[in-house]
């Protein structure tokens, strides 16, 4: 006990040295562990999400972009396909289609345009407020609500793709009607809207005053053969309200409207195979893929990186341990007078070793406790942490 007491006094007095040593040791042990935990968590989560997503249909091109956009709402949207493709999948009778249009963002978070089928498919639940009911509404992932400090009753404005694009996308002021429960998936970091609301943001659908009923005569430019030609004076709504919702409409055939991808949920394995048969790479203009394969390939790369990291960690650890040994040796040399004094005061060499060991022991134990604590924290928050890395 005396040795521990003396060691503790020593470390207390030489705080900086002790902290540096503890930090160094903690880092040596923590880093590889943390990387391992994160890689494991990413593996588990990425596999879980890709396993839970049987098939993805998208434009031919980068399968990785398609999967990352569909599963993680990654920022780079793939080439679009049309709503017709989602309908075609439904019409096959092999699967039901969940359309996704993940192109726009709101205050840094992806706006995911989809149907309510996505919500039930991912088993998302409302934590507060309610589910989407009409156009112009949005439901926030838990992390979005948390970070933006928004809840039901607030509004959220979509970010224009290009602020100088006057004719193109108008920012849409969306009504926040609900917040989803935390799922520790990318869904926590998304803003969910009806796919048609996403099209409204795209400028494909809009509302305006009824031209024939417009009070301002300047609105109607000419009337030719029963056709009214309206001037640009008609208000372009940037908010869908109960008053104007009835005037919202889409120009053209919604079947031709864009989607970034379609999640196809086959009714069974046989249906999946049959559906895959309809989208053979040789003959199909589209890409129908199992995301699991793509994600597994991606994970292989992550594992490779982890292996390299592990080697780096091993080398750094050895270097750090050598440095620590050096520090201790140097410090013992600096403490030679102290050691001599203690010897003169009757201290045995064994006791001296015990004192040094106690100092090291305290450092090691504290480091290990820190490592255990940090590892525990990492394990506890791994999914949440993972999300930060994945988005």
């Amino acid at each position: 006990m005396h040795s521990l007491y003396v060691a503790w006094q020593y470390l207390r007095f030489h705080k900086v040295k002790a902290v540096v040593l503890i930090a160094a040791l903690t880092l040596i042990t923590c880093l590889p562990l943390a990387v391992h935990i994160l890689v494991r968590a990413s593996e588990v989560q990425m596999l879980a999400r890709s396993q839970a997503t049987p098939l993805i249909l998208g434009q031919k091109g980068s399968a990785l972009d398609l999967v990352m956009n569909t599963l993680y709402f990654a920022s780079k949207p793939p080439e679009t396909i049309t709503m017709r493709e989602a309908d075609r999948i439904d019409e096959t009778g092999f699967a039901f289609a969940i359309p996704l249009y993940n192109r726009y963002t709101a205050r840094g978070f992806p706006i995911v345009g989809t149907t309510l089928d996505y919500v039930s498919f991912r088993r998302l639940e409302i934590a507060s407020g309610r589910m989407l009911a009409v156009l112009g509404e949005c439901v926030l992932g838990a992390a979005v609500a948390d970070q933006l400090g928004l809840g039901p009753g607030d509004t959220l404005i979509s970010t224009p793709e290009n602020p100088f694009d006057l004719a193109g996308v108008y920012p849409l002021k969306m009504q926040v009607v609900g917040v989803l429960k935390t799922r520790h998936t990318p869904d926590d970091r998304a803003v969910f809207v009806d796919v048609r609301t996403a099209w409204v943001i795209e400028g494909l659908g809009h509302g305006h005053e009824d031209v024939a009923a417009a009070r301002d005569p300047q609105v109607v430019l000419t009337e030719q053969d029963g056709k009214l030609v309206a001037s640009a004076k008609i208000v372009q709504y940037t908010e869908i309200t109960p008053e104007n919702i009835d005037s919202f409409h889409f120009h053209g055939d919604t079947g031709q409207f864009p989607l970034t991808s379609v999640i196809a949920v086959p009714h069974d394995d046989k249906a999946a195979t049959l559906l895959m048969g309809r989208y053979l790479p040789e003959t199909s203009a589209f890409l129908l893929i199992k995301p699991l394969g793509v994600v597994k390939a991606l994970l292989q790369n992550i594992f490779k990186i982890q292996r390299v990291l592990n080697i780096i960690f091993a080398v750094v650890s050895v270097a750090m341990l050598l440095t620590i040994v050096l520090i201790i040796t140097l410090s013992l040399r600096l403490r030679q007078t102290e050691i001599e004094t203690m010897y003169k005061l009757g201290c045995s060499r064994l006791k001296m070793a015990e004192l040094v060991a106690a100092e090291l022991g305290v450092i090691v134990v504290v480091s290990l406790m820190l490592t255990a604590g940090l590892t525990g924290l990492a394990l506890h928050w791994q999914t949440a942490l993972m999300q930060q890395f994945l988005s």
């Binding site: 969940i98 309510l116 039930s120 009409v134 024939a212 029963g226 056709k227 009214l228 030609v229 009835d246």
Partner: protein
């Protein structure tokens, strides 16, 4: 009564209540957007499903707008039967789960009739477009109604595969009824297809198309006396379209009927039955419609 016996009775009571409760819980809920679909679903589903048609009786379900709670109820349903053909305007802006929705008229989508006559206009860079809608009283062509009923049957069978046979059997009966009615109507009009007819409202497009009727519509409401401009409009139609009968959605005001009568036009009610009828059901209302139409073709 012994304690044991009363205990047993209590147990029986609880069991029966529980059974009734679990049955009502187990029965899938089907939401529909108009009365014909409710009728089809109830006739085919026959107690195996709980059919809900939430539009109030005094509203036209085509233009009715449900509140958020009702939309939530639609979302929570096990199956949502919609009419298609742009019926129920609220569907355009409501968020509903696509996988639960069945567009009952999808199969004859190519036969949709586009309504002309409302203004077209243009604004912005996207060019001219029209707000003219799609005629939506699809079921007034009874063959189409049968196809809608078939879609209902398929939806219910997917929902409750164990009752597929019963659904198919009941559908077959319904189909037979509808086709028989179609045939009867065909026979009635067969001789005088070219006879000019008037419709108080543009809701009989599919009926007219099915049987090649020579039908022109005005935009009148049964419960409103048409104004002078509307009468003038009618007179100008009559110059080229010498009709002797006008089809009404509901009983016209006697004054309207009298004034028409003075012009040599008789009134008859052909109820499209979009909402729940006060008496009878879809089939009986349609039978009455057909019977009434007989007068015009005698």
């Amino acid at each position: 009564m012994s304690l044991r016996r009363s205990g047993m009775l209590a147990w029986l009571g609880i069991s029966l209540t529980l059974m009734a409760w679990t049955e009502s819980q187990a029965r899938p809920t089907v939401y529909v957007v108009n009365y014909p679909l409710q009728y089809f679903a109830e006739r085919i589903g026959a107690g195996q499903v709980h059919v809900v048609f939430p539009a109030p009786a005094d509203e036209d379900p085509a233009f009715w707008k449900p509140d958020v709670e009702t939309i939530a109820a639609f979302q929570a349903a096990d199956l949502i039967l919609i009419n298609g053909a742009a019926y129920a305007r609220w569907l355009k802006t409501a968020s509903l789960p696509k996988s639960k929705m069945i567009d009952t008229s999808r199969r004859f989508k190519v036969d949709y009739i586009e309504i002309q006559g409302t203004g077209t206009h243009s604004h912005g860079p996207t060019g001219e477009h029209s707000h003219a809608g799609t005629a939506f009283t699809t079921w007034l062509d009874f063959r189409q109604a049968a196809q809608q009923a078939q879609a209902v049957m398929e939806g219910l069978s997917r929902l409750l595969p164990e009752h597929k046979d019963a659904f198919e059997r009941r559908y077959a009966e319904l189909e037979q009824d509808l086709l028989a009615l179609d045939e009867r109507l065909g026979t009635i009009v067969a001789g005088q297809r070219e006879q000019p007819l008037l419709a108080s409202h543009p809701v009989y497009q599919y009926l007219a198309k099915r049987h090649g009727l020579n039908l022109q519509s005005v935009l009148w409401e049964p419960e409103v006396m048409p104004d002078d401009a509307q009468w003038d409009g009618l007179r100008s139609i009559l110059q080229a379209h010498d009709a002797a009968w006008m089809l009404w959605e509901g009983d016209p005001l006697p004054a309207s009927a009298d004034k028409l009568q003075a012009l040599g036009i008789k009134s008859l009610v052909f109820d499209p039955c979009g909402n729940t009828p006060e008496q009878g059901d879809f089939f009986s209302v349609m039978q009455q419609n057909v019977t009434r139409l007989l007068q015009a073709f005698q």
